[in-house]
């Protein structure tokens, strides 16, 4: 029968709908017949938009950990089923919707996400409402383990305060006391600046200026002009992601790093890989770096596995965040001998990571008071030459332990409300 383009058969539509409906109904029967119910982990992270790169890398770490665990008996004898949803990079409505979907429809036992701190906090509201264990691998705003801390929410990556504390004393002692800042104009940037300013004041330095830049701006020339005119000892660049790449490129183009010292706090391999060699300048901290002392337990295997899964690329801090999130959860479940959220939360608080999971010196553990992971800060310098190895773009000078640079729980503003 000849149908003109653009018409469709109502009957076909009904048939298709029925088929979809029936397939949804039949699926659970198949799983039940197998005799074991899998443990469901839901990941609600950006896979599109500005944060797609870190989101994907966290996903690599997560998938690797899940595959490793499933190869060895899963968690408490149960196979892990990983459900991944795209939260988008900035649509909180979508992120919350996906979180609800994972929790209500798919009944996940464990929620993971989000790279974007605002989305992470929105999701935390939902996970807390529903009493599901939630770990934030890479969302940095302090509130997640500070003023908005919750009994079911844990965080892996550093807080802005930890970052500032880890690097400021070094910068002050090495380069001088007059600092000029370029700060992204949103909550993360502001808290980062506050942390640095507090450190600077305590050490006896001065702030020559603070340029608040709109998010997503591509041209930093105006701010660099001002910074240069203020003649500081150190230019502290707090912008992140693509903004960081552009700012450093322009710093190199203008030759500013030849007149002042350039530094910042958090640096990410995803950003560094996007920079041309001449832009790789300054002193920074990484939350985890792949090139470490030979013989670090688990490191070689980890790097090898990640290379296989990413077409030869090395793991970034984000990969490590994802990896740690899953393994920490597995360990906590084993310790609590159940997957019930409150018990696992209790087990996870104060839990120390074993050597082959933490892959760094210093003790790494979740602090019970605020559920923040005490991870080390890898402080060092970006290198333009790559030190002979084209992948080794950063030279680590110090590894500062997490609990030395983290402010005590009393100062974070966290007043954890434990459930009844």
């Amino acid at each position: 029968m000849n149908k003109p383009l653009g018409t469709f058969d109502r009957r076909t539509l009904v048939k298709a709908g029925a088929a979809i409906g029936l397939s949804q109904l039949s699926a659970p029967f198949i799983i039940a017949a197998r005799g074991d119910t899998p443990l469901k982990i839901g990941v609600d992270n950006p896979l599109t938009g500005t944060y797609a790169a870190p989101g994907k890398n966290e996903g690599v770490g997560i998938q690797l950990a899940v595959d490793q665990l499933n190869g060895k008996n899963g968690i408490l004898g149960r196979r892990i089923e990983l459900l991944t949803e795209d939260s988008t990079s900035g649509d909180a409505g979508a992120a919350v919707q996906k979180a609800r979907k994972l929790i209500e429809r798919d009944n996940v036992d464990f929620l993971v996400g989000n790279v974007n701190s605002a989305l992470a906090q929105a999701m935390a509201q939902v996970s807390n409402e529903k009493g599901v264990l939630h770990v934030v691998p890479g969302g940095h705003t302090d509130g997640i383990t500070g003023t908005n801390c919750k009994w079911n929410v844990f965080r892996v990556c550093t807080t802005t305060r930890m970052e500032a504390n880890s690097i400021c004393p070094l910068l002050f002692n090495t380069y001088g006391k007059k600092w000029h800042f370029i700060t992204p104009d949103y909550a993360f940037g502001h808290t980062l600046y506050d942390g640095c300013e507090a450190n600077l004041k305590k050490l006896g330095g001065t702030v020559t200026g603070n340029e608040l830049t709109p998010l997503g701006i591509t041209d930093f020339s105006a701010y660099l002009i001002k910074a240069r005119a203020a003649n500081p000892d150190v230019l502290v660049v707090l912008v992140q992601g693509n903004d960081m790449v552009n700012c450093l490129k322009q710093i190199a183009q203008f030759g500013i790093e030849k007149q002042l010292h350039v530094a910042g706090t958090q640096q990410e391999l995803e950003a560094v890989e996007a920079m041309p060699p001449e832009a790789r300048v300054g002193i920074w901290m990484f939350e985890w770096y792949w090139k470490q002392a030979a013989g670090t337990p688990g490191l070689e295997a980890f790097i090898g596995e990640v290379r296989k899964r990413t077409d030869g690329k090395v793991p970034t801090a984000r990969t490590w965040f994802g990896y740690v999130t899953i393994h920490a959860y597995a360990l906590a479940c084993e310790k609590a001998k159940t997957v019930e959220a409150k018990a696992v939360a209790k087990a996870l608080g104060d839990m120390e990571l074993p050597p082959e999971v933490k892959m760094q010196p210093n003790k790494v553990y979740f602090r019970g008071g605020d559920h923040q992971l005490m991870l080390s800060a890898f402080v060092g310098e970006l290198s333009q030459k790559g030190d002979g190895d084209p992948e080794n773009l950063f030279k680590v000078n110090h590894i500062v332990a997490g609990d030395t640079d983290a402010p005590p729980v009393s100062e974070t503003g966290c007043a954890m409300q434990m459930p009844a």
Partner: protein, 289 residues
């Protein structure tokens, strides 16, 4: 303070030149075909990424010339296959189509070239600054301004002195009559679209040298282009040129006084223009009403 202001005004002109390049391409397409090309930023991205891929084979200068042409060819294909069908219809449809197209382009570039940003260095000779005092006037930024000036100049010559240019200008005012005079309007529209996309592709290559490559980099440039057109006056290319420069300078000046508002100020300018002189600075009354 005076020096700082002068620096920022000069810097603003450099940024503005770039906005103008994007806006002029957008304006060409809008004026002749009445199409609001939401995918303009997407074509910028394609231009940049093509340059990145071609560069190892034909070098920076080769990529600079070839990439915009390739982008324009893709533009013609899009115009022939998709946009052409919508000319008679409500402007809503072409707007929606380009909106959907922008999605596809962003996802496509992410799929082919990866989500992570890619570096794009410029030739050694262009990197040094004019002088230690004028450190922000780097060779590359001067090169960008020069490119924009050359291309825009060529465009104006094309529009004023060539037959095609005259037809395009006439078509902007009254397409029906131009058609009645025997001009192949379909080919004219395709060519006009191609020129607009060529400019977007070129902007992409220039942007790549400045800010690197990233699938979402087109988004932040789309809005300023719109505003340059509104401020400068719909229907007037010269207006769009001045609109771009003006918002660039405004942005630069605001960075001195009130840094965090340097992006928002262009919206304020647009609001002021709409209140005081709705047709834009150099716009003509009745142009697309």
């Amino acid at each position: 303070m005076l020096e700082l202001t002068f620096f920022n005004v000069t810097n603003g002109l450099i940024i503005g030149a770039f906005y103008a390049l994007m806006a002029i391409g957008l304006s060409l397409i809008l004026n002749l075909s009445g199409v609001i090309n939401f995918a303009h930023g997407g074509f910028l991205v394609i231009g940049g990424y093509l340059a990145y891929t071609l560069r190892p084979y034909i070098g920076f200068w080769g990529a600079l010339i070839v990439a915009p042409f390739l982008t324009a060819i893709i533009g013609i294909a899009v115009e022939r296959l998709l946009i052409r069908r919508l000319y008679g219809r409500d402007p809503l449809y072409s707007l929606l189509l380009t909106f959907g197209l922008a999605f596809i382009i962003e996802d496509g570039t992410r799929q082919f070239w990866g989500a992570n940003g890619l570096p794009f260095s410029v030739p050694e000779g262009l990197t040094s600054a004019l002088s230690s005092k004028f450190f922000f006037i780097t060779g590359y930024r001067m090169f960008m301004v020069a490119m924009v000036a050359i291309v825009v100049g060529l465009l104006f010559v094309l529009l004023r002195y060539t037959r095609i240019g005259v037809r395009i200008r006439a078509g902007t005012l009254d397409l029906e009559t131009v058609s009645a005079l025997g001009v192949n309007v379909r080919a004219l529209r395709s060519l006009n679209f191609a020129v607009g996309i060529f400019l977007a592709g070129l902007a992409g290559v220039l942007a790549a040298g400045q800010i690197g490559l990233e699938p979402t980099m087109g988004d932040s440039l789309l809005m300023p282009s719109f505003i340059a057109i509104i401020v400068g006056g719909v229907g007037s290319l010269t207006g769009t040129l001045f609109g771009g420069l003006l918002i660039g300078v405004a942005s630069g000046l605001t960075a001195v006084i009130f840094p965090s508002a340097s992006e928002a100020v262009i919206y304020v300018m647009m609001a002021i223009v709409l209140l005081v002189r709705p047709r834009g600075l150099l716009g003509e009354e009745g142009m697309l009403t």
